[in-house]
Symmetry: C3
Subunit: 129 residues, 3 copies
Amino acid sequence: MFEFTISSTKRIEMIDITGKVQEIVSKLKVKDGIIFLFVPHTTAGLTINENADMSVQKDIISKMNQIIPENDSYLHSEGNSDSHIKSSMFGCEKFIFIKDGKLFLGTWQGIYFCEFDGPRKRKVYYKII
Amino acid sequence: MFEFTISSTKRIEMIDITGKVQEIVSKLKVKDGIIFLFVPHTTAGLTINENADMSVQKDIISKMNQIIPENDSYLHSEGNSDSHIKSSMFGCEKFIFIKDGKLFLGTWQGIYFCEFDGPRKRKVYYKII
Amino acid sequence: MFEFTISSTKRIEMIDITGKVQEIVSKLKVKDGIIFLFVPHTTAGLTINENADMSVQKDIISKMNQIIPENDSYLHSEGNSDSHIKSSMFGCEKFIFIKDGKLFLGTWQGIYFCEFDGPRKRKVYYKII
């Protein structure tokens, strides 16, 4: 099991990590298998979505902010309850198939680290089977 | 790794693929293990939910449409921003245990392909460990 | 594949099962691997979130109830449509890495069984690879 780090620059942000994950698979020379990704944070998550038009990411973030606004009648005093809820909605883990040394994603799919309480330095753990 | 195809007939639809997945497990004569399912599309997803009363599926779809309506002030110009957001909410991957050659699901659980931008011809990838 | 049981005491509740899952890993003397958890119910789920301040759980539950209220114009006649929808939103499965005999979670992460239609006696299946 290994990890890599990401630096987010905004409070809420989707960061494309597809290239980073492919790099790992290539370096380890894995031909076939499954890569499991796990985010060890409670105010971040992972999702797989459109990698072409950036406006999709903006729509995802803006709808999430509308459903779960930053400011609401939350009990948690750190001001990031929305980040925790968003994290549970998206989940902190994903798996992706590997075929012939490549991440076997759909044409329009990218893997995104979802920052919900940045900017922060974050980790992603991974394991390949 | 293999794949199967599905044809959806509506814009938003939950299609029961439990039988198809069980068929795969039976054909491959897998006794014990885990089957991993992955949808290579950004406007579709997978979920596991009630297989008895069809009205549950209708309630799920109608609530999803209420929270994330088809028409809203989205930036993405293809008219399917809601489909992308729904996809991220449900996720594009699932795993199910196999025991004694059968999918080890709960009594009321079925596996559903969630079409969020149909009708289309879709794929589901799978891998068994 | 094995299972353990949980007794919920409220209609909607997040129950910390981190200790139980660690106990399983310790008993089986697994040093490294992945534990896969699967809830065989359609009105419950799993999530990983903050283990320190209990008010985070309260905020998660209260926001979920606000987005998907118990009473709405649902078709399903059992009065638990909201529970089914919440289950699909959170998902019924999770995987967690194991390193040196310990669940490899982030400092603030706990594993939660999410009861959405209790009180009930529930099961969690698990499998380690």
